[in-house]
């Protein structure tokens, strides 16, 4: 099984583990039980799994929003696990995260201008000469009208909020986006627009994506490779067509069988596919 892309990977994760220690005599929880993967520039790796599989912990650990218990996370050759806080902050501009719930991930009292320009207040050396103009450009890039710049999140729909989250992530010109269920809170027609935007940005900017999702139909459309996560482990990973058409792990087979399909055919309770 090939876990690395042909080119030099943007991100290379080896033996990553995250154990949450149990309190008051409770057992430890092994959320991520030693996973390996790599993502190249312009590549989209999807991580699929059900609740409790560890996929969101994995997403957070990769960016060191949570410190891993062991293993290495190499970003363009630098092992993030060994960095000090200030070194890490300098690296973070290259990797950004998009969260599931655009109602929770934007500050309700800040304007869109403030939200999208906020990263420059942390990474001061990247502050553009005319930040307002640059925010307008970013909004345009994510398909938002320039007049949205002075609005608050409450005035925006879920899809528009997620576009603002994407604009904020792009403000630091990252190489890698970690997307944790980026469209699962959105209506299906809005979901289609946001997915189209994400895929176009990936092509234009050569971004690498780690795309966390439970939606297999969506993953089939967007991912180059897919890793199937179950109880903290990757039960298999490989090119998306290969895994979906010829799954080797029992868990992948049962996940595929349970996934609702829009295509013809009576529901057989998992016999199809």
């Amino acid at each position: 099984m090939s876990t690395a892309s042909d080119r030099d990977p943007v991100l290379e994760v080896v033996g990553l583990r995250k154990v949450f220690s149990g309190r008051g005599g409770a057992r430890d929880t092994v959320a991520v039980a030693g996973v390996d993967f790599a993502v190249g520039a312009g590549e989209c790796l999807a991580v699929v799994g059900e609740s409790g599989s560890g996929k969101s912990t994995l997403a957070r650990t990769v960016l060191r929003l949570i410190d891993p218990t062991s293993g290495s996370i190499r970003f363009r050759g630098t092992d993030l696990t060994t960095l000090t806080a200030s070194q890490l902050r300098r690296q973070r501009r290259h990797m950004q995260m998009i969260f599931q719930d655009p109602y929770a991930s934007l500050h309700p009292r800040q304007t869109v201008y403030r939200i999208v320009s906020e990263p420059w207040r942390v990474h001061r050396d990247l502050m553009p000469d005319d930040p307002r103009r640059r925010v307008e450009e970013l909004l345009d890039q994510v398909g938002m009208p320039a007049r949205a710049i002075d609005t608050h999140p409450a005035q925006l729909s879920g899809g528009q909020r997620q576009r603002v989250s994407i604009a904020r992530a792009l403000s630091l010109q990252p190489d890698l986006l970690v997307l944790d269920e980026p469209v699962s809170a959105l209506d299906v027609s809005i979901q289609a627009q946001v997915i189209t935007l994400l895929m176009e940005l990936r092509e234009q900017l050569g971004l690498a994506y780690v795309f966390i999702s439970h939606d297999l139909a969506l993953v089939r459309l967007v991912a180059d490779r897919v890793a199937v996560m179950y109880r903290g482990e990757f039960v298999e990973q490989g090119p998306v067509a290969e895994i979906f058409d010829h799954p080797t792990a029992d868990y992948t087979r049962s996940l595929l069988a349970a996934s609702p399909a829009i295509a013809e055919g009576e529901f057989e309770g998992g016999a199809r596919r």
């Binding site: 609005t151 005035q155 299906v188 027609s189 289609a192 627009q193 439970h214 139909a217 089939r220 459309l221």
Partner: protein, 287 residues
């Protein structure tokens, strides 16, 4: 065959402080027959959940419900709460997306099922207990007699939702209204619950209204479908007809925006102008 439920010109509006009431449901008609499942399909704000709540008398002031919903020869609309209590349960059962949170946390789940059976079906304590264990087994809870005394927090979300389905079908309703009952659950759990509902329906010939935003789930569970958009029905028919040859632009757009309907993300945008317009109209104009 006469319909189990016959809805005519159902309208729901919500009064507002600022004058004009908001029309959530703008006059819809449909009927449900025994043994069939009608999916009410739509996106946020389409009025699908308001429709199901109106049928069950769960719209409170400032919401106003007009029209007719004839069930068992009587109109459900405008009946008193006391009156409706006799219809709910044995006539119409209901399961919601968040039903799993509506179990009483301080009583064992078995006791909650027993209570319904004793109060509503008049069963004796021992018979009610036997039936409750049977129901828990039917909804796929393994080792039901030992889980009988477990509390809701000792079950997973999927298992709690199964218990709510057991509660809903315990009184053998003629019609089950299920509003996004599997939306919060994992796909493997969802598949189990949909299978379960189909099996129960086969055994009791109950009619079902299944409210969902998920095209693929509607496809799996329903025999007929009603597509709602902004409070009106834009399309109806058997599920096969509608999915094979959608007539309305909105339905076509909805189908082509589903990731399962296309082979590349580039095709996702095709043909849903109606939907694109909607987001623009609703929000950007209010800026």
């Amino acid at each position: 065959m006469t319909a189990l439920l016959d809805v005519r010109d159902l309208r729901v509006e919500f009064l507002t402080d600022s004058g004009a009431p908001v029309q959530a449901v703008r006059g819809i008609d449909f009927s449900v027959e025994a043994g069939r499942t009608l999916a009410i399909l739509g996106e946020s704000g389409s009025g699908k959940s308001v429709t199901s709540k109106a049928l069950m008398g769960l719209i409170d002031f400032p919401g106003m419900v007009h029209g007719e919903a004839i069930f068992d020869g009587r109109n459900l609309i405008g009946r008193s709460e006391r009156d409706l209590r006799h219809v709910r349960g044995s006539g119409i059962g209901m399961v919601f997306q968040d039903s799993l949170d509506s179990l009483n946390p301080v009583y064992p789940v078995g006791a909650q099922i027993v209570e319904a059976l004793r109060v509503r079906m008049g069963l004796a304590a021992s018979a009610a207990r036997r039936r409750a264990v049977e129901l828990m087994t039917e909804v796929g809870i393994t080792d039901a007699s030992s889980r009988f005394s477990s509390y809701p927090h000792q079950f997973s979300g999927g298992m709690r939702q199964r218990i709510c389905i057991a509660l809903a079908v315990a009184l053998q309703p003629k019609l089950l209204i299920a509003d996004e009952p599997t939306t919060a659950l994992d796909v493997t759990v969802q598949a189990g619950i949909l299978r379960l509902l189909k099996r129960l329906q086969g055994e009791t010939d109950m009619g079902m209204i299944f409210v969902t935003h998920d095209l693929a789930v509607a496809r799996m569970i329903a025999s007929d479908v009603l597509v709602m958009f902004e409070g009106v029905v834009v399309e109806r028919g058997t599920i096969d007809e509608v999915f094979r040859a959608p007539q309305h632009a909105y339905t076509r757009g909805l189908l082509s925006s589903h990731p399962g309907s296309v082979s590349s993300w580039r095709e996702l945008r095709s043909g849903h102008e109606a939907v694109l317009e909607r987001e623009e109209v609703v929000d950007v104009d209010s800026i």
